[in-house]
């Protein structure tokens, strides 16, 4: 599996991030970076600060201090729309797709292709159907019909559609928040595989999870957050699953 070397410009670099909520320090001078075409596992126990870090990256919070560089340039990510415009897409488990709508309609939600029929701008349904199936097939997902409702799909299949959508629309950084936590073993494997496919198509992925055994199969690097601090960033060869566990709980310091 080709790996981008360490001296490439990071895709995103968060420097000296401090986040205070009143007097509570959620993040204490955290540095965090993700390289182009890499899968970065972001790990840490509940309350460690990883969600806060991601919310800063996706524009939900503004950091108390610190700066973010995206593709080398300093950026202000003031709201989620700005994050999306930069190419950062987040897939939360239940907030990615509308279950009552079809796969195609979900795929193009917010970016619907239009054809003019008289005065009315109409959805180009055949375009939606064709492009959804083709795009998903490109990353290895075979869908029989883009008209099937998302609610009939399993959790892993839904995740894969959300990932495929991000790939199709050229997102640069995909943030997966606990993507496998509610899935079966078989389903988790599929999601991990689509994550790898997404990386092969040029995306970087931040994989937030508690499940060490899932993420060790795909991650290139790991970052461990504990009590609001970045306890360390390691290449996949440098640490074992047990080491990471210990870092998360604090039994090891580094």
């Amino acid at each position: 599996m080709p790996q981008v070397t360490g001296n490439a410009t990071p895709l995103v670099k968060m420097e000296n991030i401090v986040m205070k909520f009143g007097r509570v320090v959620a993040l204490d001078n955290v540095d965090f970076d993700v390289r182009p075409q890499e899968i970065m596992a972001l790990m840490g126990d509940n309350g460690a600060g990883k969600s806060t870090l991601i919310k800063i990256l996706t524009g939900i919070y503004a950091p108390t201090s610190g700066q973010i560089r995206f593709e080398g340039e300093v950026v202000q990510i003031s709201n989620p729309r700005r994050a999306r415009a930069l190419g950062i897409e987040t897939v939360y488990q239940d907030l990615a797709l509308v279950n009552l709508m079809s796969i195609g309609r979900n795929f193009f939600l917010g970016r619907e292709p239009i054809c003019q029929v008289g005065p009315l701008p109409c959805l180009n349904m055949s375009c939606i159907d064709r492009d959804t199936r083709r795009s998903l097939a490109d990353i290895g997902i075979a869908v029989r019909s883009a008209n099937d409702k998302v609610g009939t799909l399993s959790g892993g299949e839904r995740q894969s559609i959300a990932i495929g959508r991000a790939v199709h629309f050229g997102m640069k950084l995909l943030i997966l928040d606990e993507p496998t936590s509610a899935l079966s073993v078989a389903e988790s494997r599929k999601v991990l595989e689509y994550t790898l496919n997404a990386k092969e198509r040029g995306m970087s992925v931040i994989f937030i999870t508690h499940n060490i055994h899932h993420v060790t199969q795909v991650a290139d690097r790991y970052t461990v957050i504990r009590h609001g601090k970045n306890v360390g960033t390691y290449d996949r060869d440098q640490v074992s699953a047990d080491d990471i566990s210990d870092l998360i709980t604090g039994e090891r310091e580094s």
Binding site: M1, P80, R81, R84, T90, Y92, D94, L95, A96, L97, V98, N99, L100, M101, R105, N106, F108, L109, G110, R111, E112, I114, L120, P121, C122, L123, M125, L136, G140, I141, A142, V143, R144, S145, N147, D148, K149, G151, T152, L153, S154, E157, S160, R189, K190, L192, E193, Y194, L196, Q217, V218
Partner: protein, 337 residues
Amino acid sequence: MSVSKSATLEPRQIKRRSEFLSSPVFSPLVTQVIIWIIFWIFVPNFGSVRTVSGIVGAASINAVIVIGVTMLMISGEFDISVGAILGMSAFVFADILVNGGSPVLAIVVTLLVAGSMGAINGLLTAYTAIPSFIVTLGTRSIYRGLIWVVSGGTMIQVTDRLPIQDILNGRLDIVNNLFTQANFTTAAVWAIALGIIFQLILTRTKFGNHVFAVGGNPGAALSQGVNNKRVKITCFIITGLLCGLAGMLTFSQFSTAQVVTGANVELKVIAAAVIGGTLLTGGFGSIVGGLLGILLIALLRTGTILLGLPSDNFEAIVGVTIVGAALLNDWIRDRLI
């Protein structure tokens, strides 16, 4: 690497059903057909053009409102002030006409007033944390009170029909002349035409897609860049405008406008939407289904009268139908989706 190379999406539960069967329209259509057949068996001459046109006529004005209410429910919101907006619209329309204003002026002003009332409902819902049910529960009373203020409690009545009344809600003689004893009204044309137009807007446009998304999973819609607030406010305004038209149709039919005009319409139209397959929780439904629902309610009313049942039974029968239809819709939807 323990992850295999090519994984295929194999949804186990998907059965290949035709789109029609899993569309929201299928089950209300089934219910409708069943009940027509029941009445046709038990009531002599039920299928006559006179009866049918009477039923359609009774449904037409409310049908216009159902269009808006259904769309709003699909987006996840309620408007129970629709009756009050109708009442205000009927009054404003009548007032302008009676005081010598041109029909065009009357129509424009009425729509402006009705649209604004809808907009207020929408803005309050979108920009406060108050659920739309509560907001419109409040505006229902406020708007009704406003009619009191504007009318001073008086009623407007017109003895000679004005031409505009016949355009909006007069005899549809093109069709009536084809059948004996037919009594179709132009209001039915409005209802059906607008129903088709809005059904197309809902299912075939970008905006319609957003309406379903905002109702089905507002978080997902937001994450994909949909402007939830704007979608909802638009639906409220559309509902307001349609109530404005309904008010004009009401005055055109009865030549009367008073403070209580339109009272208690709201429950009937929401019932129609539910019978028509629209989910109370949003994200799923059809306008055509809603029209079928209001037709069913009119059918039940006429049917109970023709069967000779005491007309009080009508309310109970409608209640049973609402619950029955909702259950049936759920059952069919679970089987097919």
